[in-house]
Amino acid sequence: MSEHAMTRRSFLAGSAGVAAVAAAGGFMGFGAWQQAIAKEEEPPGRTEVVHTLCNACSSKCGYDAYVVDGKLTKLIADEAHPYAQGKICGRGYGYSQIAYSPDRLTDPLKRSADGSFEAISWDQALDEIGQKVREIVEKDGPQALAMVQDPRPSGKYYTKRFMNALGSPNVYTHGAACNLSKESGFTQAIGTGNFESDVERSKMTMFIGRSYADAIRPSSVAALQRAHENGAHIVLVDPRLSNSAAFADEWVPINPGTDLALILAMANVLIDQGLYDKAYVAANAVGFDEWAAAIAGLTPEWAAPITGIEASTIRRLATEFANAAPAASIEPSWRGAFGCSYRNSGETARALCLFNTLLGCWNQEGGALFTSGVSVGKLDPEKFPSTPKIEDAIIGSVEYPLALKSMGTNLYAAQMAKTGKIKGMFFYNSNMAAGYSNPAELASFLDRLKLMVVIDVQMSETAQLADYVLPECSFLERMELPEFVGGKTPVVTLRDQVLDVIHPNTLPSDQIFAKLAQACGVGEYFDFTVEELADAQLRTVGLSLEELREAGTIAFPEKAYSYGATPKWKTPTGKVQFASDACEKAGLPRCPVWMEPEVMPDARAGEFRLIGGKQAIHSHTQTANIEALMDITEEYGLDRAWINASVARDLGIEDGGLVVLHNELFDGPIRVKVTERLNPTAIYLPSHYGCSSKDQHTAYGVGLNVMDFVPFHIEPGYGGAMTQETVVKMQKAGE
């Protein structure tokens, strides 16, 4: 437990830092506390410490928020939170200021006939939305409604419950523009959507397209650093030399979109040379011989011209893997190179799992682990009644049968808005209209909706398209449901309410969905408070809300992971599937073989592949309006496009020079960073910029949105956005 936990939810007198009175009678709400001190006429300068979870990215690291006289002052990272481990990243410090942003949404908004928004009351918003939802349900059925959400502790519960109460199965995450292809591909091979590489204890770990030092989770950075200090061989396969280079031994600057060829060729070497774990494969796999035959010709020499990596390097890497096994793996990645990027992303994910199986590394120290988790048990059905069972499958599951049902492909749902199959869409904590391929075309789909409702804290591009915008309070002003985090030792952790609600007409998500449900005639499923639900959930694992509020994060040491167990493969065959019937049925090969990306840049025609990727101070588009973070972007020109130095020389472009990037979809000016850190077939455009919402005064107009250059298309079978299936040309501005 954090040493700060001693002071959590207690009150420190003045600024002297000496512990004073403990909160009498357990928890006291911050509002109540303020009133109490007002009555007692306590001196100013009182400090309260509240545990929360950062909202700057999906890792949701824990920290203690210090509040002095109602204002957020310091953030002290939670030592007990498994992702934080006593640190939060640069985004976390900066993003805390969202609470005080002058661009916050403060009232429900309704689009007027002229396209502008007017502030309306909650009653009016809820009445009108409720009526429209009921009309859609009556006329087209609940299947005509869909929800898109980026999972947050409360949001993932309340959005699903709201939609299911209405009878709709159509609850989508942002996965199609994130990790849908990866998780779905993994599931075809190993029966689960994720695993964890034991980087720190490995002898060799290969990262494909993922950079722990740029898309930061503090615990991952620490693990990578320790791996490096322990002498592990860390290989970065990436068209761009990321900042993880500080703790890596080798950069393999692959041609983007060809990671699958590299994995297949390394597997070919292991099989051809007999270097794979034959006993492990015999005991755990089906379809191995079929795959071995299918990739028999896919040698390093075959892969070299495709990947741009010398055959000898591929051969060496494969051999090094064999020598390091089982304390070795290819790291699972996240969005990176194959979360949603290419036509072959799902197949790349599948091949990755098969390669790791050849190493026999599953659940081995230093290998690839399926760590433990804890989940909520059964709740009182009287108080928390189950929503009706829904017979219909989530829309898109027939067309994209390999897409995980827990994520779905919201791209297809949006496409169905165009055809009229989907009539009403809700968006919670999701900026789909900016973060997915071809925002202009996507906007034209969403324009056909009868009802579009966006719930957010600021005026995102998606909110700009909505009929109704409902203002949520910031993450610091709300308590959410307990967050269960799996890992070597699973924990449960809490986002508690740090600040009083700043704008009185904003509400937390639990109340927004309860009110929406009421307005739509399904309020009976929301007859409880978030505190009651949180407490009930925690009691199923032997804890209480009071205990979690006091501690911030609580571990389940009795559920700790241990090495060595043979995984239970949750595939249809109960084995690692080197061949998949489901893939074949979806129109893909039974075994993963080489599949070329949809487009390849033709250098002779002056084409480059446009790739995106995170920078350490931003998360997608949601942090770009934070002044302290955007100030860094502007000071260091982080919005610049990266181009390879020799390419720049050939085209006469200087560092900092202005170019125009263009393709058939879009053209826009951008300054360049001339660098040796990039594969010459690619141009890198950071994924955070090009905000087109004028109501985000800090973010608006800085840089380009990489998605404007990407056509709207969907990865066959898997349903991903194929966000890097595009090429652009470049010319000096003014030429």
Binding site: L12, T47, T73, C89, G90, G94, Q97, A616, A628, I632
Partner: protein, 180 residues
């Protein structure tokens, strides 16, 4: 009396800016008030490239040009060797910003006064922070703060072991040491 200094190991720096945003947050600075700035260097040619991130901040020079040029005595060195700016005395003439060889001073856009790294460990033990915000926040423990006069302090030992030196040698007798 302790003689405070800092060590920054650029071999561990991933250029993530956490030190800068933590410094701003924990010290309640303005969004455009930066006490830490960064230089990035690439060496080599594709694909054999190395990258170095160098964070810079007030070096608390013993021979401090900012204090020498300050016409009001606002920029001064305290008994503990920490270079400070008395905000009330600063007239915003910006001489110190011109004089600082490391360009690590920042003008407060609201008050017009100049400010810079305060080695905040020394002043802000309370409310959770035990160490300079940047040291606390650094994800890779690339920073060490401590007493340069104590040969047994972590920083003194690290300076010897890692052959750390100030960025510009003896130029200003800086108290921030670098491992590069």
């Amino acid at each position: 009396m302790a003689r405070y200094g800092m060590l920054i190991n650029t071999k561990k720096c991933i250029g993530c800016y956490a030190c800068r945003t933590a410094c701003q947050r924990q010290n309640d600075l303005l969004p455009d008030e930066a006490f830490i700035r960064f230089e990035e260097r690439e060496e080599g040619a594709y694909p054999n490239v190395a990258v170095e991130h160098v964070p810079l901040q007030c070096m608390h020079c013993e021979d401090a040009p900012c204090a020498s040029v300050c016409p009001t005595g606002a920029a001064h060195m305290g008994a503990d060797g920490i270079v400070s700016v008395d905000q009330g005395r600063c007239i915003g003439c910006l001489y110190c910003m011109a004089a600082c060889p490391y360009q690590v001073r920042s003008r407060n856009s609201q008050t017009g006064a100049v400010d810079k790294c305060r080695f905040c460990t020394v002043s802000s033990h309370e409310n959770g922070t035990k160490m300079c915000s940047c040291v606390d926040a650094c994800l890779t423990d690339a920073r060490i703060f401590g007493d340069l006069d104590d040969p047994n302090s972590e920083i003194s030992k690290a300076i010897v072991k890692e052959h750390a030196t100030p960025l510009k040698g003896d130029l200003t007798r800086a108290k921030v040491y670098y491992v590069r």
